[in-house]
């Protein structure tokens, strides 16, 4: 490392010799030309902007051709095993090629939790930059959601969910059995817009409870989460029984006692609703003195008059 130079982004650069270039071409011969270009640029400049293209290009090479279109959608929550059909041995092949191309070493232990394409991209970027590794995406089936959420059926509007440092995603299928559909509307069941916003609010609650909020070691007390405000809520489409809502939220500001998120709901590829800002209050566990016996449940989110007004 004595003769290595350091570029502005702080990554030590080894010289990139014609031999290295030949090896790189050979290693990436089954990847797209763009993958090689990105890798060569990265090796010459250390510019981490090339990393997503390199990592996606390498993953693509190991995905069976009939599944590759999925990868083109470039969704970060695309799951490596379930959606792309990559098994643990193929994952090792990917790792070995990534190690070879990026000149780095990855431990088995570090790989265990990588579930999505986004996890892999974030992981590689952190490794290359020498940053601490983020917690990987956590997947929660409905049982896990029910066990952590203060909100419970019949007022829980989240099915399976995934949470990582950058936000949370969930699906909710409108079963048609929801009690309020009997009256909303007469002989014409339509999911109330207030419920759509409620569902996004619930996903934000899940993020606060399962995500990485605040300093290490602190956990959010579920009894302290309440709705405060929302801004810029627009509904684009009516949602009916049988349809599956794809909910996603991303934190915009997280500073106790307020957490602000942006959220959107899609049905298939169609936008159903967006909320520019949903703000919740919350507190960390150690900041709560004694459990207040009369504490209002967090489900009060929906009964907040401000939220109820959304559907007016």
């Amino acid at each position: 490392m004595a003769q290595s130079v350091t570029n502005p982004s702080g990554i030590p650069l080894k010289p990139f010799t014609p031999d290295d270039d030949a090896n790189l071409r050979e290693a990436l011969k089954r990847c797209s030309a763009a993958t090689y270009e990105a890798a060569a640029q990265f090796r010459k400049t250390g510019n981490t902007e090339h990393l997503p293209a390199i990592v996606l290009g390498i993953i693509e090479r190991y995905v069976e051709p009939d599944l590759r279109p999925k990868l083109k959608e470039a969704e970060d929550d695309l799951r490596i095993i379930e959606d792309l059909g990559i098994d643990s041995l193929t994952m090792m092949e990917i790792v070995i090629l990534v190690e070879d191309v990026l000149q780095m070493t990855i431990n088995n232990e570090e790989l265990r939790h990588l579930r999505t394409v986004g996890d892999v991209k974030t992981f590689i970027e952190c490794k290359v930059r020498g940053l601490p590794l983020p917690k990987p995406t956590k997947f929660l089936p409905i049982e896990a959601i029910v066990s952590v959420m203060p909100i419970q059926p019949p007022f829980l509007f989240l099915g399976e969910a995934s949470v990582n440092a950058h936000g949370a995603n969930a699906k909710y299928k409108i079963s048609g059995q929801e009690f309020f559909l009997q009256g909303h509307f007469k002989d014409n069941p339509v999911l109330p817009a207030s419920i759509m916003l409620e569902a996004l609010g619930q996903l934000a609650v899940l993020f606060l409870l399962e995500g990485q909020v605040g300093e290490a070691g602190k956990t959010v007390d579920h009894r302290t989460i309440f709705f405060t405000s929302c801004e810029g809520v627009r509904c684009h489409r009516v949602c009916r029984p049988g349809e599956v809502l794809n909910l996603s939220i991303k934190p915009k500001r997280l500073k106790s006692p307020l957490a602000t998120f942006e959220g959107q709901i899609r049905v298939g590829q169609e936008k159903a609703a967006i909320a520019e800002e949903i703000t919740l209050t919350f507190a960390f566990a150690e900041e709560v003195a004694e459990p207040a016996p009369q504490a209002q449940p967090a489900a009060a989110v929906a009964s907040d008059p401000a939220l109820a007004a959304v559907n007016a």
Partner: protein, 419 residues
């Protein structure tokens, strides 16, 4: 006692990549031996081999391999394979189609697979070299299963979702004959209803040339006379690779499925020389005992044997000891069975040989011919008294013996009967 039948065959061999092509080559005595391009170097005195056509497997990267379009093999299937893995996969496809089996027929606890190959010295060398150069953590994840002995059973059992008995056999050139014998036993004993028997070898530089060290390979430059078992001027074997697959089924399954039958596996015998690690017993003592065991077990008389598919590989010592074993068995027999070595055409397939030649016997029984022993211009005087046929005979053999001998003096004799 339950009878066991051959109901399907598949071939990727130097003399053809289908049963039809193989049968034609056997009848017309068309050999598959060429001046093998990788051997054409000043430092390699061996010049000939019997390669596989229509496949290209000479790189260490399975994704570079070329194979006939009728076989659709995905990357995830290919990545754990040696060159002979792809041959075996294709021969297996042929065999299940030939036997008209559906996946439900073969993927169940009553169907097993016994296989034999020597592994892939080619890939083993490559992966060990990579380990030394790049470090242990950069070993290809599937390098081990692609390279070691057993690779052919690992791959086929998982790819074809075999649920019954499975293992590999390792007695060098007797391996796949052992596999067939023990597969027969599984059905006979009622443990399995159906068995696949697989023999396969890479047949490339790394699997053939090491035999030059023990002076076992022919140094002939002329492919048309290089492999000439029983000829007085024979000077060693010609290497080959490929794969052969046989489907064995018990009589109940044959009746239930109304399966087409090539012939019956009547039984088998084995015995060992207990003599030398690499040289066969000069009098063929072990092979003689294996033949006697096979005849006793099957209740077949010496006189009723019509055809012997000899192991004879075209080495001076090996052919002689087999000739002596055969003479001691058949010397007093008035009928003198026809004897030939099909290795004159195919070259010697090592672990593949036993299954490949059993497949040839299946074709001979079903189609009614006995393949001749090619390339003999002057027969070895030591073979005097044996009926070594130099041309193919257009008769159906009723009872066939097929011999195989391997390192350490392992000898197997398989017995087939026409139906």
């Amino acid at each position: 006692m339950r009878k066991v039948y051959i109901t399907g065959v598949g071939f990727i061999t130097s003399i053809g990549n289908s049963a039809v092509a193989v049968s034609e080559s056997l009848r017309e005595l068309r050999h598959g031996i060429v001046q093998f391009p990788p051997f054409q170097k000043a430092e390699v005195p061996v010049k000939v081999a019997a390669p596989i056509r229509d496949f290209q497997t000479d790189t260490t990267d399975a994704e570079d391999w070329i194979f006939p379009a009728r076989y659709n093999i995905r990357r995830e299937t290919l990545r754990g394979m040696a060159p002979h893995g792809i041959y075996a996969y294709c021969a297996m496809q042929q065999a299940v189609e030939d036997a008209k089996l559906t996946e439900a027929d073969w993927s169940n606890p009553h169907t097993g697979l016994y296989a034999a190959s020597a592994g892939s010295p080619f890939l083993l060398g490559h992966h060990l070299e990579r380990m030394r150069k790049m470090g242990v953590m950069r070993c290809a994840p599937l390098g081990v299963v692609a390279a070691i002995s057993g690779t052919v059973n690992f791959n086929l059992v998982s790819q074809f979702k075999i649920k019954g008995a499975s293992t590999g056999f390792s007695s060098a050139c007797a391996s796949s004959a052992h596999a067939l014998g023990f597969a027969y036993d599984e059905i006979k004993l009622g443990r399995q209803k159906r068995m696949f028997v697989v023999g396969a070898e890479d047949g490339n530089v790394e699997s053939i040339l090491p035999f030059a060290g023990m002076r076992a390979l022919s140094l002939q430059h002329d492919p048309s006379i290089a492999s000439r078992p029983f000829d007085v001027a024979r000077d060693g074997f010609v290497g080959t690779g490929g794969a052969a697959v046989l489907v064995l089924e018990g009589e109940e399954e044959v009746a239930r499925r109304r399966a087409k039958v090539y012939g019956e596996v009547a039984g088998w015998g084995q015995a060992s020389d207990g003599y030398n690690v690499a040289i066969s017993h000069p009098d063929g003592a072990g092979l003689r005992m294996a033949i006697e065991n096979a005849l006793n077990y099957t209740d077949v008389t010496v006189e009723s044997v019509d055809y012997v598919n000899a192991h004879a590989t075209s080495t001076p010592i090996g052919d002689l000891s087999e000739a002596r074993a055969l003479k001691s068995i058949f010397q007093n027999s008035p009928t003198r069975p026809a004897i030939s070595s099909t290795k004159a055409l195919t070259g010697h397939g090592l672990s593949l040989a036993g299954a490949m030649e059993a497949g040839f016997c299946a074709l001979a029984m079903k189609e009614g011919f006995m393949p001749g022993s090619a390339h003999i211009s002057k027969i070895d005087p030591a073979c005097e008294g044996l009926n070594i046929i130099r041309a193919t005979l257009p008769h159906q053999p009723n009872v066939i013996l097929s011999n195989s001998s391997g390192f350490g003096g392992a000898n197997v004799c398989l017995v087939f009967k026409s139906v």
